[in-house]
């Protein structure tokens, strides 16, 4: 039986667009159309407001937590074209950096896998994507920009996990990677989706970011993309969802050939896709106000594991 474990009153005055839990699940950050970001301590099932961050001049679309080994760091992006990085110092949350190099609303922020260092990708309605890298010597963020990544705008970003195995013969681009514990890290990659109906995979090549693959199957704007966590399998997966009402799961063995598999065509636009921590369950939510869970069985067939909700009352939100 599924039930509500905890309900948190965010206290925002308007809709929230993002609610992110930090790495250990001890803090919750919410961002809202009321231009504010709130941080709650939700340890042990409680709810205590730790900070109410005001710094954006427009609705805040998304927040993202950095890995705690960098300290308590939160990034936010807003309609006001800014990306702000907030930091907790001596128990006080303050603005530590502000990035305002986009010409339009910034829709998505995502921190890279922590093994690569403190790196943030930002996707904007101006069609470009910025990659901010924290420079430990200067204490500031260096940035690189991919102009015109998606015409009309980039809606979503998701990083490739650091431990995705790569084909052994492909040694390109590996030479400049830092190593942890003697294991060379993979080339940095992320996936983005935008208003040009495409899903694109980007990879770092020397000091530039280049488009590695462009996946063209969706027939309308991409609303969300999610790279599945890696659990040491040779394959890698991305889920994408679109206003064409479809969710597609892209899979690859070698990072070169991506095979699309249409998970389902839903009754309504699909807004969000989200992988479970170990990448074996995909959560899908959309305009029909349902969240459905999908799992691949032993025969490689994806089935919905949350039951059909046809007979639930119309005025109730169900999963």
């Amino acid at each position: 039986m599924v039930s509500v474990l905890q309900s948190i009153d965010s206290g925002h005055e308007d809709l929230i667009h993002g609610a992110e839990i930090d790495y250990y699940g001890l803090n919750l950050a919410t961002c809202s159309s009321d231009n504010c970001i709130k941080i709650f301590d939700i340890k042990n099932g409680g709810q205590r407001l730790k900070a109410d961050l005001k710094g954006h001049g427009g609705p805040v679309w998304q927040v993202a937590w950095a890995h705690p080994k960098f300290g308590n760091i939160l990034a936010s992006c807003s309609y006001d074209r800014k990306v702000i990085i907030w930091k907790e110092v001596n128990g006080e949350w303050t603005k530590s950096n502000e990035y305002s190099n986009h010409d339009s609303s910034v829709n998505s922020v995502a921190f890279a896998p922590h093994e690569y260092g403190l790196i943030l990708a930002c996707g904007s309605s101006d069609g470009s994507i910025s990659i901010l890298t924290f420079n430990t010597e200067s204490g500031n963020y260096d940035f690189k920009k991919i102009p015109n990544a998606h015409t009309i705008g980039c809606n979503a970003l998701s990083w490739c996990p650091s431990a995705v195995p790569e084909a052994a013969f492909d040694q390109r681009g590996k030479q400049n990677q830092p190593a942890t514990n003697g294991i060379p890290l993979q080339v940095k990659r992320f996936v983005s989706g935008g208003c040009d109906n495409t899903v694109k995979i980007w990879k770092e090549d020397g000091d530039r970011w280049v488009e590695e693959r462009r996946l063209d199957v969706h027939s309308d704007w991409i609303r969300d993309v999610a790279w599945a966590p890696s659990i040491g399998l040779p394959s890698s997966r991305i889920a994408s969802c679109s206003q064409d009402r479809r969710v597609i799961i892209w899979s690859t063995e070698d990072m070169t050939t991506w095979t699309p598999h249409i998970l389902n065509t839903f009754d309504d636009v699909v807004w969000n896709v989200s992988w479970s921590l170990t990448g074996n369950i995909l959560g899908v939510s959309g305009g029909d106000n349902k969240i459905s869970l999908w799992k691949e069985n032993n025969d490689g067939i994806w089935t919905c594991i949350s039951q059909d909700t046809e007979n639930a009352k119309d005025d109730q939100r169900v999963m």
Binding site: M1, V2, S3, V4, L5, S7, I8, D9, S10, E13, D14, L15, I16, H17, A19, Y24, G25, L26, T30, S33, K43, G58, P59, W61, P68, K69, Y79, N90, G91, N107, H114, S125, G153, N181, C195, R223, S230, I231, G232, L233, V269, N272, S274, L277, T278, N280, I281, G283, S285, G287, N289, N298, I305, S306, Q307, D315, Q316, R317, V318, M319
Partner: protein
């Protein structure tokens, strides 16, 4: 207890009702849900129409989790060690599997006892009682069907199916034996006036307990009559089938058919008609359908009398032959109950049915619906796969299927435990024995175990080490460094940084120690610094910190010669942080100005060299930065440092060097002569 509850969670939220909702995974077991409206390129920077209309909530949704209940935790941990033994045992004999199965069952029975105690302890109306009563139903069903699987599938030495089934029935329907025992102990001559006398005797017959039934019949007040005597004779002469030794099956059958034909003719000729109860018993023994249907009317469930029926009709039946018998018995039973068969069976009855029909696919499917967070299906499937007794279909080889099934179940169970509070360590053990995905998942999930304090961090690290996940250890240390720093617990931060072996983190913490010294003239955490030992080589900054601390110890214990030697070595070492030049050179002044000259001329030149080539450029740089303070933040701490040193530090140093040099040269030159 099970099954078909809606797998749907209704979130009562006014806002989501109006605008819609979205959700995302937090952990494998937790989903966060909140009201949502998509942002489009046409979205404008204005409050939405939902602004200030109702509470804006975030909901955390999760599968109900029973296993962290205080009573069930014991079962979880005990079963995990049985599970672990099963995976790691070297000598896996059939006795070992039977022993393992019995250990699991005894763990379930212990849990049932604890649950019953817990129910007795609670106020009968409390919610806990209802919860525990529900658990009792669940775990009773589990034990009951596990027991069945044990002698039918796991115990390979068992060849006598029907006697085992009778034993199992006796165990789960104990009232005839209990009543009989009570009557026999009291040796009550008037036993037959008791209302339950015949019920008990028939109950014993229905469970094949002929000898005890005979003993009870002897207590009857009419036991000396002809009819009772006849019954005693007939029952005594009844042939009993035994799979070990005795009669061959063929011989038994001919004996039985002779004996029962005689009995039927006695019944038909009315020899038992004076005692209708005795007559019923004899009819049951001969397998008379109408009489069996009559007793089925009062039965609690379909399998209560099934074993007894087999005992009198097919005593030599083997497990794989039971399917047909079960079907015909079930339809007979259903028609006597006036029901249409399978539809009214409860979950346990359906589980027992699936096992007896040897329909393992159906059985495994139905036990997944039990609200025990899959405890039963995981452990039983694993055991059955180990002893190679799980057949999911009769066609072809299903080895890969059952192996995949086992791996998936263990994976899900392990991942669930790892995502649920304090049972995560147990979860690790399960994932270790699931699949290659399980090993990967272990690493991901272990990293996310919430660390709230040093003790928990140490605990997670110990587990990570045991499983060879060294990268996790390093990351946890880094997290602890950051946390300790933000709490100003620098000693702790240094310890964690050293454990992380990460030069950047160690340098950061060592800098705090050095800054603090520059500002206050005091060393932090001297005990700690005194015991860093060889680990100081992790980072040049730490090396410098420890060496500088040694210098202090020499100095304060008046070992001035060693202090001076170390100081000069440090000056030449190239590991001095730039900001520390003023402080380090200032330390030279008392040594230079000491009554007895300690620093020889050559070393004095070294000091003078660093004064000119390091300290002066540093001061100039800082002065420049101070002028530009409005344009550049710079490093506040470093800027403050220079304020602690008056401009005449350089003057003092130069003078001290000059004076010491003159004294040293006089002495040195004197010695030469």
């Amino acid at each position: 207890m099970s099954g078909n509850e809606e797998n749907v969670c209704v979130v009562a939220d006014k806002l989501s009702e109006m605008c819609g909702l979205t959700g995302k995974f937090i952990t494998n077991e937790l989903i966060s849900v909140h009201g949502f409206q998509p942002v489009l390129s046409t979205s404008r920077d204005v409050p939405t129409k939902f602004a200030n209309t109702s509470e804006v909530n975030v909901f955390h949704i999760s599968q109900a989790f029973a296993l962290d209940d205080s009573v069930l935790r014991g079962l979880v941990s005990e079963s995990s060690s049985i599970f672990y033994n099963l995976q790691t045992a070297k000598d896996k004999t059939s006795e070992f599997y039977l022993h393992t199965s019995r250990s699991y069952r005894s763990a379930i029975r212990a849990t049932l006892n604890k649950l019953r105690e817990a129910i007795d302890d609670e106020d009968s109306n409390s919610d806990d009682v209802k919860k525990y009563e529900n658990f009792v139903t669940i775990f009773y069903s589990i034990e009951c069907s596990w027991h069945l699987c044990e002698f039918l599938l796991i115990d390979s030495s068992s060849i006598s199916t029907v006697p085992n089934l009778l034993e199992w029935t006796k165990f789960h329907f104990p009232s005839p034996s209990q009543n009989a025992a009570e009557m026999l102990i009291n040796l009550d001559r008037d036993v037959d006036v008791r209302s339950n006398y015949w019920v008990t005797v028939k109950g014993l017959i229905l469970q094949g307990q002929i000898d005890i039934a005979r003993a009870l019949l002897k207590l009857h007040s009419s036991s000396e009559t002809m009819t009772f005597q006849l019954a005693e004779k007939d029952l005594q002469s009844m042939p009993i089938f035994s799979s070990h030794g005795g009669l061959s099956l063929q011989k038994f059958r001919s004996q039985w058919s002779y004996w029962s034909t005689t009995l039927i003719s006695k019944i038909d000729s009315g020899l038992y008609s004076t005692e209708p109860d005795l007559e019923d018993i004899m009819k049951l023994i001969t397998g008379d359908k109408a009489t069996w249907m009559e007793v089925c009317k009062d039965s609690n469930c379909w399998y209560e009398h099934f074993a007894g029926f087999l005992f009198f009709t097919q005593p030599s039946a083997k497990y794989f032959e039971l399917g047909a018998s079960v079907n015909s018995w079930l339809s007979q039973w259903a028609s006597s109950k006036g029901s249409s068969g399978f539809t009214n069976l409860n979950h346990l009855e359906r589980m027992v049915l699936a096992v007896l029909k040897n329909d393992m696919a159906e059985f495994i499917h139905s036990i997944q619906d039990i609200a025990d967070n899959k405890w039963f299906v995981v452990h039983l499937t694993d055991l059955l796969v180990h002893c190679d007794q799980l057949r999911m279909s009769n066609e072809g080889d299903n080895t890969s299927l059952v192996i995949a099934l086992r791996e998936n179940l263990i994976y899900d169970y392990g991942a669930m435990l790892m995502s649920r509070g304090s049972l995560w360590e147990i979860g690790m053990d399960y994932l270790e024995f699931s699949s290659s995905e399980g090993l990967g998942a272990r690493e991901i999930l272990l990293q996310r175990i919430p660390i709230k304090n040093d003790l928990q961090a140490t605990n997670v690290i110990a587990v990570a080490r045991r499983h060879g996940l060294a990268a996790i250890e390093q990351d946890i240390c880094r997290v602890m460094v950051k946390r300790s720093m933000s709490l100003h617990n620098y000693g702790n931060a240094l310890e964690w940084a050293i454990r992380s072996r990460d030069n950047i983190y160690v340098t950061k913490v060592a800098n705090v120690f050095l800054f603090h010294y520059c500002k206050t003239g005091k060393m932090l955490h001297k005990d700690l610094l005194a015991h860093v030992g060889a680990k100081m080589f992790i980072s040049p900054r730490l090396l410098f910190l420890v060496k500088y601390f040694d210098f202090h110890r020499y100095f304060s214990s008046r070992a001035l010669a060693q202090a001076a030697e170390l100081l000069v070595n440090l000056l030449d070492s190239k590991i001095i942080p730039e900001f520390f030049w003023p402080s380090l050179l200032a330390d030279a002044i008392p040594l230079l100005e000491h009554n007895e000259p300690i620093i020889p001329s050559k070393e004095t030149y070294i000091i003078m060299h660093h004064l000119e080539s390091n300290l002066i450029p540093f001061i100039e740089k800082k002065n420049r930065q101070r002028e530009n303070i409005n344009t550049d933040h710079g490093d506040d701490i470093e800027l403050n440092l220079i304020d602690g040193y008056p401009d005449d530090l350089v003057q003092l140093l130069r003078l001290a060097c000059a004076r010491n040099l003159s004294r040293a040269m006089i002495i040195e030159n004197t010695l030469i002569h």
